[in-house]
Subunit: 396 residues, 2 copies
Amino acid sequence: MNKRLKIGVFGFGCVGQGLYEVLHRTRGIKADIAKICVKDRNKKRSIPLENFTFEKDDIINNPEIDLVVELIDNADEAFEIVSSAMKKGKSVVTANKKMVAEHFNELLTLQKEHNVSFLYEASCCASIPIIRNLEEYYDNDLLTAVEGIINGTTNYILTNMCKYQIPYSEALAKAQELGFAESNPYLDVEAFDAKFKVSIITAHAFGVFIKPDEIFNYGISSISSYDISYAREKNMDIKLVARSKRNNDSLGVWVMPQFVPSASKLYQVLNEYNGVLVEGVFSDKQFFLGKGAGAYPTGSAVLSDISAVTYNYQYEYKKFGQESRPEFTNDLEVEIYYSYRTPDELSKLPFSSVHEQYTGREYCYAIGTTTIEQLRKVKDSIPTDCFICLMPEKSF
Amino acid sequence: MNKRLKIGVFGFGCVGQGLYEVLHRTRGIKADIAKICVKDRNKKRSIPLENFTFEKDDIINNPEIDLVVELIDNADEAFEIVSSAMKKGKSVVTANKKMVAEHFNELLTLQKEHNVSFLYEASCCASIPIIRNLEEYYDNDLLTAVEGIINGTTNYILTNMCKYQIPYSEALAKAQELGFAESNPYLDVEAFDAKFKVSIITAHAFGVFIKPDEIFNYGISSISSYDISYAREKNMDIKLVARSKRNNDSLGVWVMPQFVPSASKLYQVLNEYNGVLVEGVFSDKQFFLGKGAGAYPTGSAVLSDISAVTYNYQYEYKKFGQESRPEFTNDLEVEIYYSYRTPDELSKLPFSSVHEQYTGREYCYAIGTTTIEQLRKVKDSIPTDCFICLMPEKSF
């Protein structure tokens, strides 16, 4: 306990370099980077070459390395690295939400079998310590909901669209230029990134693991200026909101665009920031706000996990053992705004009832109720110039 | 580890009753209340009489009770109870900020000597898990500042004064009526309550314990409608802000009223809510918002601590062992707004320089620099119809 850790790092991109700098400027933490494994032998590096290796076995098979920090993009390769490391008795810290969400049960088994720490705070909301708080602090308080803006890329785009009337494509280009969006933005803008995160958050909030495939996600790429105008006229913004909400014994989990009224705490979450509301029966709503992306915020979350490993901290997944776990369902009624271009497109969305309908020359919309299960079923057949948005709920 | 705890509770006021209800509606936590010790034999109770005892030894000397939850008002009696309990090998959970702040070192020694858990999350900001986050999560991240609104009573009063132009005495009466202020509001409105809290927060943030006596506190009881008007004209509110801020190797800690611009996150903290900004070099500012007072929010914080005791959780006070601890000083320059009634009162505040001065028939003010040490020295000799307020700093 509390010895000086030797770390092997995989990946030296934005987060890896952030971690390197954060670790070197932090005096209190008993850990040093022994080696960094990268792929590209020819890429110019910002630190001396002797820090690097190109063979992953130099880290995995090195018995002096206690901890592997995995910061590469590819989820399959990451899983390969992480599972080899745990099998060798090494603890692991990762920021890879896709890998954690897609291999959740296998990773749980591995960490138990090999009695190692496996921590992934940086995988959700960068600098906001949401997993640790759900895991350690909100384990008893009749938690009812976790809801938030957990993807910085889409929030940056939507902030620009709502506040400055910048069109989608331009806002996306700006996000890419500033490094808030990747050159292929698919995982972010189609809400897969947020879906992986809400799957992980739900596990720590309610002790229920839901495969990402079962969670409804709908992104923002088909949003139009008509939708933004509709929201602005009503003093609302459109935000991509992830929700994991308990209602008695059932649990609804999804990610989709949502109208957010100006009185909501989530309305104040701007640009690359993330914001999470944690709702308990007794604690009321708690709001956590912080930078949701970037080298330093993510690096600092990785560092908090490294520090926790020096104290042998492990997630206990206590809630998985509790009796009163809710049951996940997509069979939940929701009130939806659906915008489309020509009247014949209305039928693409299977409303159980429609309360409002507007038909214009270039833009139509309908507001009505349907279920998450219905939305999941028809999602891929909805025309790409149509848009779905959840109607606002009561605010904080 | 993880056995079913037997709890002895001291006090059955607002928080005690909140805890009782919270605990009875929570299924996951392995703890039961064995006895509740109260003073008044004749007071009517909301639960059956067999739950109560009037002798504290019925709890302290009962070997079956593992955990004492201390929820009484009187700090001296509380210390007596808490230290007896620890000496008997019992863990302790308390919400008593005055006791914790005034006996910090003794309480640390006791918990180490007797190897028991001593937890007090509920003593600061009720439902916001600030101590746990500082203790567990921000232990490495070159923390630079913790700043916030940590007293619900004064925030309720100031919100009413700033937003609805209600005079101080009326706002205070309203707070008392709603149970947000005690019949004797001295500790809250003169910023002693917030001072105890910031002393505790500073210990967990920076590993430095500062006796409350050494911390400058200045309250809100002498605020006038002129001060509120001055703030409102400049699109600011006045808030009672506690600050613990590191600047290289020195540490400044105080509580006083401060002008808060509308762009600051703290501006959005209204009524009985508390809001805390945690600033790190790498994580940037994190913002925590939640209810800072009330039976349920405080009860739920007590319950989180009880739950932590079932897992043998103890604060480790890691930062007290770190090399790079900053040194507390009151010798720090600050920019101060000082309002007074007659020109001769200007000299009561020892400015080192004055940048702005306004003289009117009933209201005058000066803005200039002085030090916290100077303010501490003259605090008690400043006329009660004068008011001191910190000028705004750069916002979040």
